[in-house]
């Protein structure tokens, strides 16, 4: 159940610059796609560029797309984020759909490195009514009380016990139906 076997750093969920509070700013600044024009490993990337890239660029006008055709190199993409982080992904022998999938994955990231979230929520205001301290809900009478005290020294009344409740029920039945034989 522990997470020590993971080499992932861990942290609390956060977002750069209170993104989303005022307006949402897509964090992907630019994406550079390097591919070969002839080698087979770049086939998926080439197909993606020919078919889906324009639509991607239109739906994400806040992201600059750079294409780098380089001979004899395996394809890769490097995503740069607004907080200065870069992410490298090798696209060697990806299919066109895989390229699209990973590109849209890059779009949804902020540059904050992948980490294990310790909690899936975060708040800057963890308490509204105030953190509990031993004085919360204490009766003010304890300030001037002399112990042992009549009321304060006794255990807090939790209400009638089960035995007492049964006796009450029994008495009630006796009063309602005196003719009936009382239950043993």
């Amino acid at each position: 159940m522990s997470n020590s076997h993971l080499f992932l750093p861990s942290g609390f969920i956060r977002t750069p610059l209170q993104n989303g509070l005022g307006r949402y700013i897509p964090q992907l600044q630019r994406i550079t796609i390097k591919f070969c024009k002839s080698h087979g490993g770049s086939r998926g990337v080439r197909d993606f560029i020919e078919s889906d890239l324009m639509e991607f660029a239109k739906t994400n006008p806040g992201t600059v797309v750079y294409l780098k055709p380089r001979r004899h190199r395996s394809p890769c993409m490097v995503a740069e984020y607004l907080n200065g982080e870069r992410e490298y992904l090798s696209c060697h022998e990806f299919s066109r759909d895989e390229v699209y999938k990973w590109l849209s994955y890059m779009c949804t990231r902020s540059g904050i490195p992948v980490m294990r979230f310790r909690k899936y929520q975060h708040t800057d205001y963890p308490t509204i009514q105030g953190v509990w301290n031993p004085f919360t809900h204490q009766a003010p009478e304890i300030n001037v009380a002399e112990f042992p005290h009549e009321v304060l020294s006794k255990p807090i009344n939790h209400g009638p016990t089960a035995t007492e409740q049964l006796i009450e029920i029994f008495k009630k039945t006796q009063l309602e139906d005196p003719a009936n034989k009382p239950p043993n």
């Binding site: 610059l17 005022g22 003010p140």
Partner: protein, 355 residues
Amino acid sequence: MAALWKTCQQCLRYGFTNASIYTSITAVNVISKRNFKAHWVAPTLRELQRRKVIEEDRGGGPKIFHRSTFLEWNYDAEIFAFSNRLGEKFNDSSLRAALTHKSYIERETARLSDIGVESNLQFQDNEALAQKGGEIMSKFINGYLRAVFTQVPEELIRAMHDYLTSNPTLETVAKHIGLGDLMLCADFPCKTETYVKSFKAVVAALAESSGEERARIFVQDLVVTQLYGQDVNELWNPVDPIGNLTAILKREGKAEPEFRLIRQAGSNSILAVYYVGVYSDKNFISEGAGESLEVAKEMAAREALKKFFHTEDSMRALPFGRQLKNIQSKIAQLENQPNVPLSEWISPKIMSAVH
């Protein structure tokens, strides 16, 4: 048997090279896959890293390059993306002027004159825009603060405004919207003042291009949100809270504040705690805790003032985005109308101002 072994080998190799994709398990931002590396790769990389470290130490840190020195750089595309990223429309000339610094123009003209070329540059710098941007940004911030913190004295409004317009805050905002790569300036790595100037100039350019309304919403969404998560009471505190509390209650016509010890524990130890409550005419106002009676008294008075100003820990969350739609006109109205200063603060007066 040999044929079976060969097929097995091929299957294994096929299975491994058609890599399944796992998320990274190292701290480096590489989405890694399973790869087999030859025995000489690791020692080579280790040696190269060792030499790189030596060179960097000799050169005084790792070499950094401006993004525009890369081959894949298109300034026009970057500017287009910048305006779309923020969801705003800019006049091209205004935006380019906002991002151009005087130092850059001077450097370029000097460079060209060194070569001997006639410098016919038509660059416009961002001095005027930055000045104007600073003014309107202050105006918008003050309007928002006064509309949201209606009961707060002007001193605290000023403290919050100073925090929001401080250089570190604006530099962070400027960096995170991508201004670092777009600015044309002579200094690299860019100084704080350069970032701040660019950001202010961008605000002014936006006001020029899309109107004051959009610029107001822009400042609210990007600058004022930096107040979220910050405890406003850490930014400013009245110097004499007990005196202020007494004065306020007197102005309101209420009884003098009476401080009473409510709780105490560990009086003779280091971890002593005293809770002091403030009462006015036997009505409870607030309580405060401290390690000594004097501290507890002051904290109680501070809590009482927080209650009056509506800046307690349990105050309402700051409104942003759509929640501001209804009060934008009120914000605009209050930009020129300062809140009541502490010397005049009393509750009936605030209520009558109809904020």
